[in-house]
Each structure stands twice: as C-alpha cells, then as structure tokens.
Symmetry: C2
Amino acid sequence: MGRAKTIDEVQLFQETEKLILESGYAGFHFKALSERLGVARSTIYNYYPKKEELITAFMVHLLKQVVTKMDRLSEKEDPVRSMIELWGNYANIHQMMQVMPYIDKKASAKVEESVKEMFRMLQEMKVKIKIILTAEQEKGEVRTDVHMDTLVGLVMAAVQIPMHHASQEDWVKEVYLLINDGLKG
Amino acid sequence: MGRAKTIDEVQLFQETEKLILESGYAGFHFKALSERLGVARSTIYNYYPKKEELITAFMVHLLKQVVTKMDRLSEKEDPVRSMIELWGNYANIHQMMQVMPYIDKKASAKVEESVKEMFRMLQEMKVKIKIILTAEQEKGEVRTDVHMDTLVGLVMAAVQIPMHHASQEDWVKEVYLLINDGLKG
C-alpha cells in the first residue's frame, strides 16, 4: 500500500487554493497540503521544491485561464457585463493576490520566472480590455471623453472591490451598475 | 567638520520616497540614502536599524496624513470630488504600496507593528468614506440601489487607477467623471 507517489496537478492546485483561502499564507505548509492530498510531503517537493514555486505557478495558471476566457467576451451581447461576470468568477484571484506581498519573489529562479509571467498576463488583460472598450466606444456604449488608459484602469480596479457582504451574483450586479454607469457617463 | 550625526525626519522621509520612486525597492539601500542626505550610513541605522522599518514607518506617516485630511472633506461643496483630489495628491501612496510585496513583513517587531498600523489606517479610511457617502446619499447625490460596502469599495479601488499617461489634474478630472457617474447611477 503506502501513499501515492504522483499528484494530479488539478487536484494539487485546488487544494493549494483552498488551503490558502482558509489558512492564509501563514498556514500554508506542504505538511498540511500533503495531508489533504493523501501523499507524502516528499511527493509534493518532487514537483515543487518550494512553496513559493507552487503558489506562483498556480497564480500563473489562474491568470492564464482568465486571459483565455477574455477572448470570447467580444461575442457577448454586453461585453462589459460579461467581463464583470468573469471578474466575479475569478474573485479568488484577487484573494490569492493578497498573499503575494508575503511571498519571497526571489526564492528561486522558477519563482522569478512565474512572477514575470504574472506581470505579462496582467499586461495582456489590459490589452484585451482596451480592445473590448474600443469596440464598445464605436457602438456608442462607452464614453469617449475620458482617456482609454483611465477607462481600462477603472475596469481593472473593479476586481479590487471586495465581495465580503455579497453573494457572487449580487457582487456582479452591483459592480456592473457602478462600472457601467461610470463607463457610459 | 565631518558629516551630520542627526537627521531631520521630514527630510529622511522625503529622500526615502524619492529614492524608492526613482530606483524601486531593489535600488533602495541605506548607502544611496546616506549619500543623498549627506550623513553617515550609521546615522540612519541609529534611527532605523532596518530599511523595512524606515519604509513601513514612512507608509504609516503618509496614510495618517490622508486619514487626517479626510476629516475636512465633509465640509466641501462636492466631497466626492475633493476625495478624488486627495487620492490624486497622494498618488505616491499607491506607488509606494507597490513596493510592499517586496518587503519582509516579519523583518522586525517594529515592522510588524507598522504593517498592523497600516491596516488600521486603511480601515479608518473606509469608515470615513462610508460617512461621507452616507451623507451624500441623504442629499440624493449618491445612489442607494447598491450596498454601501460596494460603493466604498469602488472609491477605494479608484486609487488603483494608474496615472501614467495623465497629469495629476487630468487624472482627477477623469477619475472623478468615472467614479461620480458610477456613484450617482
């Protein structure tokens, strides 16, 4: 018998996220993670020698998902609403990002690479938001009296609005009202 | 002759800010700072044994200034606009905050205390925004169909909108348009 010697990456990422959201960075240790996964701690180390590597690899994974899903937004009837819905679906990214301040960005070359990749993903998000808002301007749905960078900045900043009191559905509804009325003018 | 053995805290904070904004956290060393101030490195160490202590003490200092200035906002004709102006005046806080991820929060007990104090200040800012927005709701200037926490979240998030392309004056004008139209509905 004995414990499994391999890990499914999807499951590893899922438990990483759950553990961080429940216990914060302080409570995030490979010991707790290995117990949840039913594997030996050494098995996790085989994949990720440092916890910083695991966390940042997971962040890159999440951001890539969002960036990929943004491609379909322009086909939607109300791309701005769909974008806020996407932010709502990935509210965990915002919560995970709050762990970033505690992570040693120079823990290893892999961590440094992941952090760079995270910034690249955030840049790509901005480019895609810009494309969407420009198309909406052409349809007369978004104001043109404010610089595009500021409009993009508002949409990006919307992710920071906390979801504490609200269900995801209410959050989307409320944040959409605020952002859309701001963007329309 | 020889170099000064005491430092004026205002000047120390000013040079700290300039050095960080110019060189980032990577380029922030007591060596560079002491050269700018014309004092021996050891003189700075007498006040702040670690650079993390100096940076976080400076952040607390900045946040306290903002929180204090928020008290006068309710007397203004358009408190929302005055609040965005205040955010514009302290845009450096946002830039400084971006250094926070690189700071070891457990570098010393003093750093830990300053970080806690920063969170207390941010909480106090939220309370003050809530008071202002509630008064504006009573005047019919702010919508009531969105939960107060979400309205406060939007105003807090506005600080995150980058100022890159714009002068401070343009940033205030544009961000005010977006936030105010969102808040009014």
